[in-house]
């Protein structure tokens, strides 16, 4: 898809975050992903871009959809994909992150996809290995492929991103999805709002160029995109918000609150959803929900990211 004779169109060896990507880089990945959608829609889903390459999924945090999505993306591009069972590996026996990285590096993988509970852990690992590293989520920092798949979904449904108003609602404080989306959507010219109780807002978030709302009515007013975030169960019980009941009443997206947004506003959620906590079933399953499409775009985006990084692999 890319002309190997020229300078690589995607100038980065790793994908560690949206931060550091130019609008051009992002658009390049989105265009690549757009083309990759067809890969998964055919009977013959196999490509040969990564044939002979090894991709390791290194998920220190449990994940279903992201890990499966990367695994499929890797396999459809012809790579050998290995899922590291971190829970039963030597990591559990006390091995440090760097030792794990060095060990894996010695096995000569081409791409490592990493998720880790600590912000910055993926960057640390990237410095210690020779292969390409993809951040599949580090703590509350970044989750770049999620933001890319969200952007692709928006672009396909709205035809553009520039000039749209996107309201990201819920637990911003603990959300890497929110941070990556704020960076990406802002970079592409969308107006980004965050809507959340103060207890779930990172201090100083307005300096990231977003408008802050603490009320759903005001926050959704005139929004084109309503992006809901998951509220972790352990955060519903009084530490950050009083209860799931109160959270749903004031910050959960139901039909009544969705009415504040534009009539053609679309609803997104990175999943997995908590029905009746941050989103009502009628909305999650309703005609304006893009939640299932997001999952499909997830595979396409990850195919695109792997393809883009493949250009930099030795002998690539």
């Amino acid at each position: 898809m890319v002309n190997p004779a020229k300078e690589p169109a995607f100038p980065h060896r790793h994908l560690l975050g949206i931060e550091g990507l130019s609008a051009q880089d992002i658009s390049f990945l989105l265009d690549l992903a757009e083309a990759a959608i067809e890969v998964s829609r055919q009977v013959e889903k196999k490509r040969s871009t990564l044939r002979g390459r090894t991709l390791i999924n290194l998920f220190f945090e449990a994940s279903t959809r992201t890990q499966a999505s990367f695994e499929l993306a890797g396999k459809r591009l012809g790579a050998d994909v290995m899922n590291m069972p971190v829970a039963t590996s030597s990591v559990k026996k006390g091995e440090t992150l760097i030792d794990t990285a060095m060990t894996l590096n010695a096995m000569r993988p081409d791409i490592i996809v990493v998720r880790h509970a600590q912000a910055g852990a993926v960057h640390l690992l990237a410095k210690k290995v020779d292969c390409a590293v993809v951040n599949a989520g580090d703590g509350a920092h970044e989750h770049p492929t999620q933001a890319l798949l969200d952007a692709l979904t928006i672009r396909r449904n709205k035809g553009r991103i520039e000039g749209l108003t996107a309201a990201i609602c819920g637990d911003i404080l603990h959300s890497r999805v929110a941070r990556s989306n704020i960076l990406l959507l802002s970079a592409l010219g969308a107006r980004v709002r965050v809507v959340s109780p103060s207890t779930l807002l990172p201090p100083g978030i307005e300096r990231m160029g977003v408008e802050v709302f603490r009320d759903m009515r005001a926050g959704l007013e005139g929004a084109d995109i309503v992006m809901m975030l998951r509220l972790q169960r352990e955060r519903m019980q009084g530490g950050y918000v009083p209860s799931a009941k109160e959270y749903f009443r004031f910050f959960g997206l139901d039909e009544a609150k969705l009415c504040f947004a534009k009539p053609d506003a679309l609803v997104m959620h990175p999943g997995p959803i908590n029905r009746g906590v941050e989103i009502d079933s009628a909305v999650a399953d309703g005609p304006r929900s893009l939640i299932r499409e997001q999952v499909e775009m997830g595979v396409a985006v990850r195919i695109a990211v792997l393809e883009a990084l493949a250009q930099h692999l030795p002998n690539g």
Partner: protein
């Protein structure tokens, strides 16, 4: 008080409510302007329709009911921001019925009920219960305070949004301070989103320790463990810093020391949404009144040194202290007739708050207007209430009182279910003659 008469508020609007009621020949106290004039107040449909020098019996329609006040003071009904009422769970100490009789007789027309009841007011259903009980059995308005933290445990944020929707007027953990600063920070952040007023009882429980009275010479002579003034100031200082961090509206339930006043003064100078109240007891009594281990004067926070009392009075006069509260806390004989250390803290105060406050007026320590403002318009402003002011269109919550009528406090005649008054047998000047809530007379001395 056999010469008095109580009337239960009628819940329906009757023809009588439409008949204008006029108080004439009164010394009108306007707490907003800290001014007074001779004149009258015209009341109809539960509201103040007009007031001023022009309202006199000569120019009123024949069908109006006219009450000649004979030169007595007429002021807005008092708003008490801090009272323990006992319902639910401590009905043997007080009920809404008995507390509001005491309040009506004392000129208090709005009472904020502390939420540290059993069960605590931390669920919308309890707020609803209180509002219905108040409607059915209360003689004056009872506004529920609801919990800041679930179960008043100081750990998890209470359902502030749902409690507010149910009718909670403000939020507090009662006489339990929130120890953990991280919890307090989150509570204040969350309350801020709902523009909910956080009322906190500022006491560092660890520093207060086993103390039972003010720390100092007198406690040492009595052989009692003291509570340093810093127990209040340290917590208050923490709270103000968190109010600054979070932008929450913060009200200190009870300030009793000059140290606290410095903190409040700075917070106000910095433009923070910070207010405070003190109790009628701390304005009019000091630690020496404990005398021979009188447990009725065991209070929380404790009565302080006379220097502190003077500082509190001066701060009330300057407006630094916004409100005066009764800190009504009925305790029965079983919890008071005990050695000082073992006795419960607290004193009743609804019925004597105004009379005790008038002591300060008679002694020249504070002007009448300022005292009334701290019991009416300032609480109304802090709480966002329409009553508590002499204004056309405001609810006709009014009181008539003779500021000079002498009497001796006889606990047996007080209406509270408990008789633990610190003013037992005290001589006072100033009695409430009539109390009106929403244009209806709920108490009248005969």
């Amino acid at each position: 008080m056999a010469e008095s008469e109580f009337r239960v508020k009628s819940s329906s609007t009757t023809a009588i409510a439409h008949r204008p009621l006029v108080l004439v020949n009164a010394r009108l106290i306007d707490p907003a302007k800290l001014s007074e004039t001779m004149g009258g107040v015209l009341v109809a449909d539960g509201l103040i329709r007009d007031f001023g020098p022009a309202i006199a019996s000569a120019n009123l329609p024949a069908y109006a009911r006219i009450i000649d006040c004979g030169g007595d003071c007429v002021a807005p009904g008092l708003i008490d921001m801090w009272a323990f009422i006992g319902e639910p769970g401590a009905e043997h100490r007080e009920t809404i019925a008995t507390a509001t009789m005491a309040a009506a007789a004392g000129g208090i027309t709005t009472v904020l009920a502390r939420p540290d009841t059993n069960p605590p007011v931390d669920e919308a259903a309890v707020v609803d219960f209180l509002l219905r009980r108040a409607r059915d059995t209360g003689r004056v308005r009872v506004l529920p305070l609801a919990a800041l933290t679930a179960g008043l445990d100081g750990a998890e944020i209470a359902e502030i949004g749902l409690l507010q929707l149910a009718g909670a007027v403000a939020f507090s953990d009662g006489a339990r301070a929130i120890r953990n600063a991280r919890v307090m920070r989150r509570v204040m952040q969350y309350a801020r989103d709902f523009d909910a007023l956080v009322i906190h009882y500022a006491e560092d429980r660890d520093l207060a320790g086993e103390g039972v009275m003010n720390e100092g010479e007198f406690a040492s002579r009595l052989g009692l463990a003291g509570i340093p003034r810093e127990a209040e100031a340290i917590m208050l200082d923490r709270d103000i810093r968190l109010a600054n961090l979070t932008g929450a509206r913060y009200h200190a339930a009870l300030v009793t020391t000059a140290l606290s006043l410095d903190i409040i003064a700075k917070a106000k100078a910095d433009g923070l949404a910070v207010t405070c109240a003190t109790s009628i007891n701390h304005l009019t009594l000091n630690e020496n009144d404990i005398g021979d281990y009188r447990t009725f004067l065991k209070l929380a926070p404790p009565l302080r040194h006379e220097d502190e009392r003077r500082a509190i009075v001066a701060a009330l006069e300057s407006g630094l202290i916004d409100a005066v509260v009764s800190d009504h806390n009925p305790q029965d004989v079983e919890t008071k007739r005990l050695p000082f250390t073992e006795a419960e803290a607290g004193a009743i105060g609804l019925e004597t708050m105004l009379s005790a406050g008038l002591r300060l007026v008679h002694s020249g320590e504070i002007p009448l207007g300022r005292l009334i403002a701290a019991m009416t318009i300032r609480p109304a402003e802090i709480l966002g209430l329409s009553q508590g002011r002499l204004e056309v269109g405001a609810p006709a919550d009014l009181i008539r009182f003779d500021p000079d009528e002498p009497f001796v406090v006889d606990p047996a005649k007080l209406h509270s279910r408990c008789k633990n008054t610190p003013f037992d047998e005290a001589r006072m000047e100033g009695k409430v003659k009539l109390t009106m809530v929403a244009g209806e007379i709920v108490f009248e001395a005969k």
